[in-house]
Amino acid sequence: MSRALRFAPLVLLVLVVGALLWRLATPADTSVRSGLEGQPVPSFTLDTALSGKPALSSSDLATGEPRLLNIFASWCVPCATEVKVLQELKARGVKVDGIAIRDRPDDLAGFLARHGDPYERIGADPQSALQIALGSSGVPESFIVDGKGIIRKQHIGAIEASDVPAILKELEQAR
């Protein structure tokens, strides 16, 4: 076997390891992003998720001021911690609306009683139909909607306390 041929595997290995290293250094974004950023919220009307709480429809999201649309569920563990952050946002004057995914009124009432209720309106999405229409792949997830009802930003996963300044800034810009 010729010398060059014997060293060929080594050269190939260096190339492959190099490419893999590059990929590790610049990880790809693999999250599912909604194609709706910059687009109006799809038109919808949801029943209320909880008696005594206003229901939610797409017209409620175009009221002239930016709003935070939060997709959550009482059975979702990270949602429980996120609600506390949403409470803080509410205290700072942010209007928060909720969409409860595959939830039951009893569970939801218990959830809000335990963890706090930052929501002005909560719509029920028992089959995840609206969630899918919004291009959301999981709970919790939030959308910043401007005063004209246009989605400005999608936040995947729970909003952490450290995200609050960025969220407030986004809401300010959406004004």
């Binding site: 076997m1 010398r3 014997r6 060293f7 595997p9 080594l10 290995l13 260096v14 492959v16 390891v17 490419a19 893999l20 290293l21 590059w22 990929r23 590790l24 250094a25 990880p27 790809a28 693999t30 569920a73 059975w75 979702c76 563990v77 595959r102 089959q127 139909a129 999981g138 709970v139």
Partner: protein, 645 residues
């Protein structure tokens, strides 16, 4: 205490692995005989890892939430079997399983290997120790499975619902056994290159390991394919997903290795090539582990993405494979090729087999990593899908299957008889199959059509090596080859039939509505809520009939709350001539249900074929080990000249 005991066992094992490496250096530098202590160290190292893994199993069985790994991957409400399976259904646990199998293989090598020379065995155990050392480092420094969580939470987070399936509980251990079994072939190759003793003795020492690893890989891939088929609800058996390719690549390399080892064992030829394949086979196991564990490629099997761990694994891969390649480049020149052979001979047949397998391996490797290269060079994102693999690998695989029929009929060194004469009956069968496809399915695609032709030809040709002689006198290893090659024909027939004759029906149906798919008439009776131990769901009640009395299918859609996830449980009914496959989808605004139905004629042949391929390997393994015992008992003259089987 249990977690601490496990951790201590791991540290001790790591120290012993380092000792193995040192002993190897000592043995190669001097002429001191250290075979016995080396074997003892390898055995103790293996036992320590088994203890560590047992500790992890106990922690999971007890749902000890004070261990971070248990908290993250288990839940006290989970069925017991999935609690235990949770031990390896995660990154740290599966890496511990990996290193346990690696060290246990080393222990077995130390206990039972008497074939390779003592010097080569010592070098191989040193190499095995070096391999293990890197993975211990990875576990102890970057992925400690025994880390405690303070304060201990009340209950855990659960396990990915997709993994809550009996198939998944046993699929990874099977594949890992195969992956890591190849490490022994790697270590033996490295050992032999270090001592310069690449000969038929080495090939015979290596062969049972490669056979065993290959059988387990075959079983793992076949089972994984069936799992994806029924659990993901897509109705397909192979998706060319990067994680699937990660298991296919070592299998392809091991298949080539298995055949070239036979040439080395029987004829002392293909030395450099066989050593190269032994290195590549285990390298592919490591590449596979890296791809799966680093999350570098997006895949339906979404595992954790962690660049830091990825870098660690990549460094290990670079060091081990790089060192082996350097060794190969330096020592390869001194390998003298063995006995010569002519163009038409068993050796040539096996060389062609190796070349085609290597090209397919190259195709899969490039297809799996190409998107990465493109993005590195041009910044553009792209993906390589099933069409590329099917188009390039499909015809090559068909060509290979065609040659598999003829190869075993060739004699070693030089074939004087006209082989084609013996292939007349298989060829006629193949042509008949082709004619039938034109009669029954004139609009069939070219590849499935050729697939059925080759399947019929190979099914007949694969039996030829034992036809015309007393089947009871044929060695078990020959029987194994026949069964494996016949299995290829069976799997091929299943794939071709599935590609050509599958009928699909995707419909929106109200209760009471009837749908037809293939020969079946399916009625949606009702959709009702249902619940399991840790999920709630909805279940459709379908009654299906084709002439005779109706049967009932109950596909489900399940919602898991912890972590939140939705899965589809297909309901599949198997008949002698195919499977009826049903999936329940979403409800639309008007209240009607999405239903997906497939009639898949002869699809089960795919996995039956995979099972036969593995069974053949097992028969060859048993046959070889059994014959070896007899040989050890009998004088050499009795078995010499029995020839390759």
């Amino acid at each position: 205490m249990i977690a601490e005991a496990g951790l201590a066992a791991l540290w001790l094992a790591a120290a012993l692995a380092a000792l193995q490496l040192l002993l190897m250096v000592l043995a190669l530098r001097t002429q001191i005989e250290i075979g016995r202590p080396m074997r003892a160290v390898a055995v103790v190292q293996g036992m320590l890892t088994i203890i560590a893994f047992a500790m992890l199993l106990i922690l999971f069985a007890r749902s000890d939430m004070s261990v971070a790994l248990v908290f993250e991957n288990s839940n006290s409400a989970k069925p017991f079997i999935y609690k235990v399976a949770g031990a390896w259904g995660n990154h740290e646990g599966s890496m511990l399983l990996w290193v346990t199998i690696l060290a246990a293989s080393g222990a077995f090598l130390g206990l039972f290997s008497r074939r390779a020379s003592e010097r080569t065995l010592v070098a191989a155990l040193g190499a095995q120790g070096a391999l293990a050392l890197g993975f211990y480092g990875f576990l102890l420094l970057a992925s400690n499975p025994f880390a405690r969580l303070v304060p201990a939470p009340a209950d855990g987070r659960g396990l990915n619902p997709l993994l809550q399936d009996p198939g998944l509980a046993f699929h990874p251990p099977t594949l890992y056994l195969g992956y890591v079994g190849l490490s022994v072939a790697f270590s033996l190759a490295v050992g032999a290159l270090l001592t310069g003793e690449v000969d038929s003795r080495l090939a015979r020492a290596m062969r049972p390991w490669v056979l065993a690893a290959w059988v387990l890989l075959t079983v793992g891939i076949t089972a994984g394919s069936y799992w994806a088929y029924y659990e993901l609800g897509w109705g397909g058996y192979w998706f060319w997903d990067p994680v699937e390719n990660a298991s296919l690549m070592p299998w392809l390399a091991a298949t080539a290795l298995l055949h070239s080892i036979n040439v080395l064992a029987a004829r002392g030829a293909l030395k450099a090539w066989t050593m190269m394949l032994a290195v590549i086979a285990f390298s592919m196991s490591m590449v596979g582990t890296f791809l799966v564990r680093s999350g570098i490629l997006t895949s339906v099997h979404a595992f954790a993405i962690d660049p830091q761990r990825g870098t660690f694994l990549l460094a290990l891969l670079g060091i081990y494979v790089g060192a082996a390649f350097v060794l190969f480049a330096v020592r390869g020149a001194s390998l003298k090729e063995g006995a010569p052979f002519e163009l038409v001979s068993r050796e040539s047949g096996l060389v062609i087999n190796n070349l085609i397998l290597s090209v397919i391996l190259g195709v899969v490797f490039v297809g799996t990593l190409y998107p990465l290269f493109v993005e590195a060079v041009s910044g553009e994102k792209m993906s390589v899908g099933a069409p590329y693999f099917n188009l390039v690998a499909g015809p090559l695989a068909l060509l290979l299957a065609l040659l598999v029929g003829a190869g075993p009929l060739l004699a070693w060194r030089r074939e004087r008889r006209p082989v084609f004469k013996r292939l007349i009956i298989p060829a006629l069968l193949g042509i008949t199959a082709l004619a039938i496809t034109f009669l029954l399915a004139p609009s069939m695609g070219l590849l499935p059509r050729l697939g059925l032709l080759v399947a019929a030809f190979l099914a007949a040709a694969s039996i030829l090596p034992i036809s015309g002689r007393n089947p009871l006198r044929a060695p078990l290893a020959t029987w194994g080859m026949v069964v494996s090659h016949f299995g290829i024909a069976v799997a091929l027939a299943g794939m071709a039939a599935n590609a050509a004759f599958t009928k699909e029906r995707l419909a929106i149906a109200d209760p009471g509505e009837r749908l037809s798919v293939g020969p079946w008439l399916v009625q949606l009776e009702s959709v009702t809520p249902t619940a399991g131990k840790n999920w709630t769901g909805i279940e459709a009640d379908l009654s299906a009939s084709r002439g005779a009395g109706p049967i009932t299918l109950r596909p489900q859609s399940r919602f898991f709350s912890d972590p939140p996830m939705e899965t589809n449980e297909a309901d599949i009914r198997t008949f002698w001539n195919g499977q009826l496959y049903s999936v329940l989808g979403k409800q639309d605004a008007s209240g009607a249900w999405q239903l997906r139905l497939w009639w898949k004629p002869f699809v089960t042949l795919i996995w039956a074929g995979g099972g036969l391929i593995a069974l053949g390997g097992l028969m060859a393994l048993v046959g070889r080990l059994w014959r070896r015992r007899r040989r050890l008992a009998a004088p050499e003259s009795e078995w010499r000249g029995a020839g390759y089987a």
